[in-house]
């Protein structure tokens, strides 16, 4: 269907004697149209349409992944943004982490910006045996810690993944919770505990 559309578009453009519209020109026009098509509302200002390098590179279909070298560049860039806790403590309270994993509020124009955001982990991941209402966009994290252990290396990886998912997988669907200021350092500590603490429901 798309091919037909593009072929048709090409024919019309040729007939009109114009140069064909490049993909980049279409992207630029789309951005200009979007900027004229939204109103600021609440905490959601128009600068949310200003893409950083990662968002720009990742605005593509899943079926057309980034070339390997570009993906590596994006991962390196995002890896450099990870901030590990100054005191080295990466594990907080898994009970608080569970609340964060359940909550989907935050950053919408309909949300109160004074209240803390949730991580909404369950929207995309299976995490515990008891919560059956989980999504499947991300992989199951059930027994995440039990399978990997609780070494410092695992803690650092987990912390980094939650802080900035693109450090390990360019164009991941998962938000960059620390990098983009969705979750605080304390909240990420609690979420890391939810994943790694042997007492957490994730590891039962």
């Amino acid at each position: 269907m798309k091919k037909t559309t593009y072929a048709l578009a090409g024919l019309v453009v040729l007939a009109a004697g114009c140069a064909s519209v490049s993909d980049q020109e279409t992207a630029q026009k789309a951005l200009a149209v979007m900027k004229a098509s939204f109103n600021e509302k609440g905490q959601a200002k128009l600068d949310r349409l200003d893409q950083d390098e990662t968002q720009k590179a990742c605005s593509r279909p899943e079926s057309e992944p980034l070339p390997k070298d570009e993906a590596a560049k994006i991962e390196k860039l995002n890896f450099a943004s990870i901030k590990y806790p100054a005191d080295g403590k990466m594990l907080g309270d898994w009970r608080e982490g569970e609340k964060i994993a359940q909550s989907g509020v935050g950053k919408q124009y309909s949300d109160d910006p004074k209240k803390p955001s949730g991580g909404n982990c369950y929207a995309c991941h299976q995490m515990s045996k008891t919560e059956i209402s989980y999504g499947t966009i991300g992989p199951s994290l059930y027994q995440y810690g039990k399978l990997r252990g609780n070494t410092e290396a695992v803690q650092r990886y987990t912390w980094g993944k939650v802080w900035n998912s693109n450090a390990y997988t360019a164009c991941s669907n998962m938000p960059r919770f620390g990098h983009n200021g969705i979750l605080t350092e304390k909240q990420i500590r609690d979420v890391t505990a939810l994943l790694l603490d042997p007492a957490s429901p994730v590891n039962q």
């Binding site: 019309v12 045996k129 200021g181």
Partner: protein, 267 residues
């Protein structure tokens, strides 16, 4: 979501002993959806919409019956299955709501600013677009989706809409494609259509507008896009904006060949 979850948990508590498996919850929700099909309050919106279409209104005191929805003045039957499309009199691509605004202004003499204040209904306020949309789309029930692509501006709208679909932005890096670009995924227990895949796109697009049980409102496609962008953490999508029309063109075209079946009823 809350309502669905509550229903799911009630059903599970009643029916399942031992560890609950998600698949059974999904099945029960599917059953619940099937039961909803029995009576659709969208009828009420459709009746009001037909009245609004035929009533003499506005400074010029004329009805909308001469409004051209793309198949000639006054032709409503099947018109929605061929929208959005290019309209020569406005020299642009329009979706249904945009065309209705155009007709209310040009035929009935309304001022655009006055008639676009309430695009969506809420507690204590009704939207004429939701009523008109309900009736006009009900007149396309059973028609096959066939969105025209012969005009260069239709082709451009499709290409722009496609770019917007994959555009990632905001604090969460979300694009439409984040939730609607893969097959067989869900958020919590809500199945997500892959809007780049023909079968899913057809099933999704041909069932909007829909009466939303959880909101007690009939919602049009403009509302669907607006609320998706809210959850995407984007700013507020302007009613009948060029981006909304481009995105609708992309999604409607992807549903080509599907049998139109709305207003539907959804949780």
């Amino acid at each position: 979501m809350n309502r669905t979850l509550k229903i799911a948990s009630v059903l599970l508590a009643a029916a399942v002993a031992g560890p609950a498996m998600p698949q059974s919850a999904v099945d029960e929700i599917a059953k619940y959806r099937l039961q909803l099909q029995d009576g659709n309050p969208a009828d009420l919106w459709e009746a009001r919409g037909e009245d609004l279409w035929k009533q003499k209104r506005g400074p010029k005191n004329v009805s909308l019956e001469q409004c051209d929805l793309g198949k000639g003045p006054g032709v409503v039957k099947g018109a929605y299955a061929e929208l959005p499309r290019y309209f020569a009199d406005a020299d642009r691509v329009m979706d249904l709501e945009t065309r209705l605004v155009h007709c209310m202004v040009t035929l009935q003499g309304f001022k655009q600013a006055d008639i676009t204040k309430r695009p969506f209904g809420g507690p204590g306020s009704r939207s004429d677009y939701e009523a008109l949309g309900a009736w006009i789309t009900s007149e396309a029930k059973g028609y096959t989706m066939a969105v025209p692509m012969s005009h260069p501006k239709e082709q451009e709208a499709f290409r722009l809409g496609e770019k917007m679909f994959f555009f990632r932005g905001g604090p969460h890096d979300f694009a439409c494609a984040t939730c609607h670009g893969q097959t067989g995924k869900r958020i919590r227990l809500q199945d997500l259509p892959n809007l780049t895949e023909r079968g899913d796109a057809q099933r999704a697009y041909t069932t909007w507008p829909a009466y939303r049980v959880s909101q007690g409102e009939l919602r049009t496609f403009q509302w669907r896009l607006n609320d998706c962008f809210r959850q995407q953490r984007f700013p507020d999508l302007k009613f009948t904006s060029e981006a909304s029309i481009a995105l609708t063109t992309f999604l409607a075209k992807n549903a080509d060949g599907g049998k139109f079946n709305a207003p539907a009823i959804k949780r």
